[in-house]
């Protein structure tokens, strides 16, 4: 249910019109320029920004994002620096952290662990310290691609305690019984994976998207479609097809990667990110208008 979301900021982002939800890897290629890039997404019209916190074994990512994660790690990104980054950002969009479960699970656990080493037992505080710290840093929600609904209850509880939303990914292959399990635990928005595979920009938008949206119609949580969106017309088509938002990652990460490759200035890369953001946001709005107007004129 949409109104069971914990974060008001995320609910508002989806309240009127389609939400543009861009993703970038924090710290790619370095801390300061990455801040300029995220702020450019905000100027370009982002409603929610997914901030990638890099994990060393990102099994759900395609090569574009994986390489960005490696650049960020090589430049020294850590969970604590990530939270400092979120605190320093000057943006209007709601912030969501996308990362892998081991980083969430281990956070703030080093004291417990060194104590446990002596006793020979493991005593983990679980996901709670991470969520508490994320909330303090102004993070409104979490996406954890390697955490299935079956293992998510401790994180769900921590998110409820600290007012964060927990976003789940629905794949084209997700079966009906699993869909129910996911939708019982999701809040904020559901991340609709447009097609099979890992993240990565593609030229065409799969018709698996339409099928997925149809299956989700009965659930009253905003549906944001991701995987493969790289241009305004994709955004338009997907929103016209019923999506409440679009998630764009690899196409933006590509701009950063190419900029680094071509030795562009931070300002030039930021301009490109802002321009593509604007195109995507406008595309989404056109798609929304196309969907709403015929209905209203009826």
């Amino acid at each position: 249910m949409a109104d069971t979301g914990n974060s008001e900021a995320i609910a508002e982002a989806f309240a009127d019109g389609p939400a543009y939800v861009p993703y970038l890897v924090v710290g790619d290629p370095d801390y300061e320029s990455s801040k300029a890039y995220v702020e450019a997404l905000d100027r370009g019209g982002a409603d929610v920004i997914e901030l990638g916190l890099p994990f060393s074994e990102p099994i759900a990512e395609g090569s574009t994002i994986q390489e960005a994660l490696v650049r960020s790690l090589d430049a020294g990104m850590t969970p604590d620096r990530f939270f400092a980054f979120a605190e320093e950002l000057d943006v209007d969009a709601a912030l969501v952290c996308m990362t892998y479960y081991n980083l969430i699970y281990q956070y703030g656990d080093s004291e417990a662990r060194s104590a446990s080493d002596a006793s020979g037992e493991t005593a983990s505080a679980g996901p709670r310290p991470f969520v508490e710290r994320a909330a303090a840093a102004g993070i409104e929600g979490l996406v954890v691609p390697d955490l299935p609904a079956e293992e998510a209850d401790p994180l769900r509880e921590a998110c409820d305690e600290f007012g964060l939303d927990l976003v789940f990914i629905v794949a084209p292959t997700t079966r009906a019984d699993r869909l129910d399990r996911l939708m019982e635990r999701v809040s904020g928005y559901v991340y609709v994976q447009a097609r099979l595979g890992t993240t990565g920009a593609r030229d065409d938008v799969s018709d698996q998207t339409t099928q997925s949206l149809d299956r989700l119609r009965e659930y009253d949580v905003p549906k944001a479609v991701g995987f493969g969106i790289s241009a305004g017309e994709h955004a338009e088509r997907i929103v016209a097809g019923g999506a409440d938002g679009i998630i764009v990652g690899s196409a933006l990460v590509d701009i950063v990667a190419e900029g680094v490759e071509d030795d562009l200035s931070t300002a030039e890369i930021a301009d490109r990110l802002e321009a593509l953001s604007r195109e995507l946001k406008e595309g989404a709005e056109r798609g929304y208008a196309a969907r709403v107007e015929p209905a209203e004129s009826r």
Partner: protein
Amino acid sequence: MSETESSTSEVGELSRRPGRERGRDDGKFGRYGGQYVPEALMPAIEELTDAYERYVLDNEDGFMDEFRERLADFGGRPTPLQRADRLSERYDTEVYLKREDLLHGGAHKLNNALGQVLLAKYMGKERIIAETGAGQHGTATAMAAAHLDMPCTIYMGERDINRQRPNVFRMKLNGSEVKPVTTGRGTLKEAISETMRDWAETVEDTHYVIGSIVGPHPFPVMVRDFQAVISEEAREQSIEKTGGLPTDVVACAGGGSNTMGAFADFVDDESVDLHAVEAGGSTLEVDEEAGVAPNSASLYAGDEGVLHGARTKLLQDSDGQIMESHSISSGLDYAGVGPELAYLVDEGRVSPVAVDDDAALEGFHRLSSTEGIIPALETAHAFGFLEEHHEDLGERVVVNVSGRGDKDLDAAIEETDQRDIDEAPDMSMFTGGI
């Protein structure tokens, strides 16, 4: 495939033996295990779980009968349990060797690869993918895929490809495609991530043959069940040859498939001590700054976390980033370990021990020169353990010789040349550029 719907043959019963119930119901071993995978893969592992229960546990369509028959005819099972005369004398205890090095391909890996490729066939899959580090699992999978006429793609880190050229050639000879993985540091963990990516796009017609008792459920229980033939035979052979159970079973442990295979049927025999020998590398000290653990001792020195689909013991830094592991034997070089072993260690049923590179290399030379068996460098760790701890062991010790060492000769020459080892021949003639 046979016409029978289900079979209650003796072979089918074998997979229902005691000692193999852990993890079957829900994929959990105490706090370890689980299914930490991207949503897109969940349907595939649910389908695999269903197939595992039907074909492996219930012997539907006579799957287990065909598996055992192929292990015998193609693989050469059963492998012998051989008394090691010189080592028995040296340690003043009965030392028996479970000769998995004599299995087709020269290592225990075929037990699992053949089981999974055959299962994929029963499931109607049309394509096999697998990851490989040193190339042992890759070569076993390529052999099994050729044997069962399945197209096969093996992902292998670029750095590993350069280090293991003969194995790459073997895979290609068997008709497999070898795809180099260039991301990250180009070793096993990148290859695993890359294989998972392939699987995420191709789940509908492709089976991913994981090489150890790691990954999401049902892989840890399924790989254990395929490898458990090692302990099943060893247990019967021990009773037959010596009139009783061994006092100790010793096996090296990386991901842990030969380990769990050698332990499985002994876990319920409380009189039998189980020793998992990990790669202590150059030191157990960790370089947190560089993210490097110069060892692969995740049972001995790691702590709990989530990697590659399962909660288990890992080598990780305080943030939870996975460390670069190291071992003289690339087959043990992995930052995680099977969740079942993590559980059995916590329960006190399995004792983890770390043996460093030096002791392993000495073990390699000792077995080669005294028993006429050149072991894999992985296996050599178990013999390093025997030398260091034989006084703590009982009167009848079974060591799992998980693989033969032909693949390691180049590494052995290079590493031996840097050390002063008693039993070792002079290596200078091999390093002088001949």
